[in-house]
């Protein structure tokens, strides 16, 4: 037999072997999936957790295995809103940025049952758990920081000082929270990424509108006072109202309501004030801060009042209906 003929038969033989192999794999139910570097597959066999697979080529038996979910394991910076908490009676919330990564294998520490339990949650549920862990940590440490902080004045700014970045109390708060997270996050299969320079940082601080309005009003009045030292208090308030783009008639109401800010005013055809809604006086003017439910609600014309929330009726369902 010639060399060419021999080569042909070897090729045919190999082809037959490959085809038989592919056919056998198909009959036995094998299938393959490519899993990216940053992903893991949670595989169940006959409805029971089997393994966490990936990255690379993952063999599955299509008769018995199901891919329940895909988990992202890369280190990621995510945004979380936590709060509200109270610092000396003033409510605030944080918008936080947290570098974290999901590592179920490390969190399980070789315990297969624990791994199976951690693998039962999808990414959305895990995000919710992270948010809850963050909330728990702040709930634990904010009161401690509040207790340690001595308020020097009675203004909102003084009371909220410990929550602002750069303040030693704030640094301490975040240090304690991060230490707490290092302990609690692994229980849900997550680790703070300690290799990042700023693992947990503040993106934004949310304070009630009356508090932030109080900050800007006080600053604007202080500037006016500085520039026009000869002006009376009434004139200053008038100028302040005009600066804010408020109708000058509101100035009178502003003063009459002992510091309460006018939220809306309706004028009749002659330009006289017909109806006005006045926000409650700033918290600092009150003997003690009332709870949210006790405050006078500030409603615009497009808002629903308490009775209106009850107007809608459900459509009566037929007894035999599904």
């Amino acid at each position: 037999m010639s060399g060419a003929g021999e080569g042909f038969w070897i090729f045919v033989g190999l082809l037959v072997i490959v085809l038989v192999g592919v056919f056998a794999a198909y009959v036995l139910g094998f299938t393959f999936r490519l899993v990216k570097q940053e992903k893991r597959l949670v595989i169940y066999r006959l409805g029971v957790f089997y393994k966490l697979a990936g990255p690379g080529l993952v063999a599955l038996n299509r008769h018995t295995d199901t891919v329940e979910r895909e988990i992202t394991v890369r280190s990621d910076q995510k945004e979380y809103v936590v709060g509200p908490y109270f610092m000396h009676g003033v409510p605030f919330s944080y918008v936080l940025l947290l570098w974290r990564r999901v590592d179920l294998v490390k969190a399980a520490g070789g315990d297969r049952e624990k791994l199976a339990a951690l693998a039962q949650y999808d990414e959305e549920q895990r995000e919710m758990q992270i948010r809850n862990k963050l909330h728990e940590a702040f709930l634990k440490w904010v009161p401690q920081i509040e207790k340690a902080h001595k308020v020097k004045g009675d203004s909102f700014a003084e009371k909220l000082m410990p929550i602002f970045p750069g303040e030693p109390e704030c640094e301490r708060l975040f240090q304690c929270v991060l230490q707490e997270l290092q302990k609690t996050l692994p229980t849900i299969g997550v680790f703070p990424d300690m290799q990042q320079t700023s693992v947990l940082s503040i993106k934004n601080i949310i304070v009630p509108p009356e508090v932030s309005a109080g900050f800007s009003d006080a600053r604007s009045l202080a500037l006016l006072r500085e520039q026009f030292p000869g002006l009376s208090e009434d004139m200053l308030l008038h100028a302040h109202a005009l600066n804010k783009g408020v109708h000058p008639r509101m100035t009178r109401l502003y003063m009459e309501s002992e510091g309460g800010a006018v939220s809306s005013v309706r004028l009749d055809d002659e330009g006289e004030i017909k109806a006005a809604r006045v926000m409650p006086a700033p918290l600092e003017d009150r003997p003690s801060a009332p709870s949210r439910n006790e405050r006078e609600p500030v409603l615009s014309d497009d808002d629903l009042n308490e009775a209106e929330w009850k107007i809608l009726k459900p459509i009566p369902r037929a007894k035999t209906g599904s």
Partner: protein, 346 residues
Amino acid sequence: MNIADIPPVSSESRYLPTYREDELRLIFHYARRGESLCYVGIAGIGKSNIVTILNHDYAFRRRYLNDEADRIHFPRVDGNTWDSTPTGLWRLMLERLQIATAHLPTPTIDPKIISLNEEDTYRRRLQTQINHICQVLQHKLMFVLDDFDIVLKEGPLHMLEQFDSFRSNGNKGRLSYLVITKQLPTVLGRRFELEKRSKFYDLFRMNIFALTPYRRADAIHMLHYLNQQANAPLDRKELAQIHYLCGGHARLLKVVFEAWLKQPPATVDIVKYFADSPDIHQTCERIFIGLHRQEREAAVLIAHNRQSEVNPLIVDHLRRRGLLKEGDSLEWFSPLWAEFLRRKRL
């Protein structure tokens, strides 16, 4: 979702015989008695389909009205086509009434009555037509005032009060209105104190109902129908997934179905995949902007797990609206809507 739960349905007809059964039964019940009612439903919830059935699907009318099916008419007045004038409204109503009752004998116009202006002309002609149908022919009319948010908001009050006058002109028990809005009528008509000063509002003040998303059977049937129209490219498992994503919201069902046809999801995270789609985002945005301000704020707070800051009355209201599912948990009607809200900034 258990795929086995989905019943095999014949998808040749657009609607199941039991489509919106409770909602339609209520409308026909009120139309029979000559009483008015109002449906408040979020954008895209399927309000137009109800209107279409009232006007064009005789089988449905026959099913609920029996012998009265030929004697009750439902002219539809679309608030979106209104030109913001009373004249425009009467003209629109007259046109729609003439279309809905084109097969009936027409009234004779008294040539001796000369109207002072165009508005008066159309108002009188409309009143004459209504009187003819209700009093001479002894039929009943239920005007379907569809998407009427803008009309209730702009008024003026004397124009809206004319709806009551049409009825008081010898047509009580025969002339009624089905008002359909996205927002509460009291809030829409706040400018002229609709709640306190309007007799028109009195006609339906006790009958304001929340129009909720489709029941499961209606939603599944709609998907099968859409699939049939597209030569059945999707299997039952995929249809079940679409239903899971949209939770009975008519427009979302359609938009997600079309998006799936265009590009099936290539990932296991189908919620994220579809939430990223501009069409679906736009549909959710339309629902969102159609809500009252406080509803929007409450929805975003709940979605960000800050439900403790939301007034329980609002939560209860959102449940009746069908935005939140019934029960103690705060679960939204659709995972896509939930994801849309989660992406909204506080």
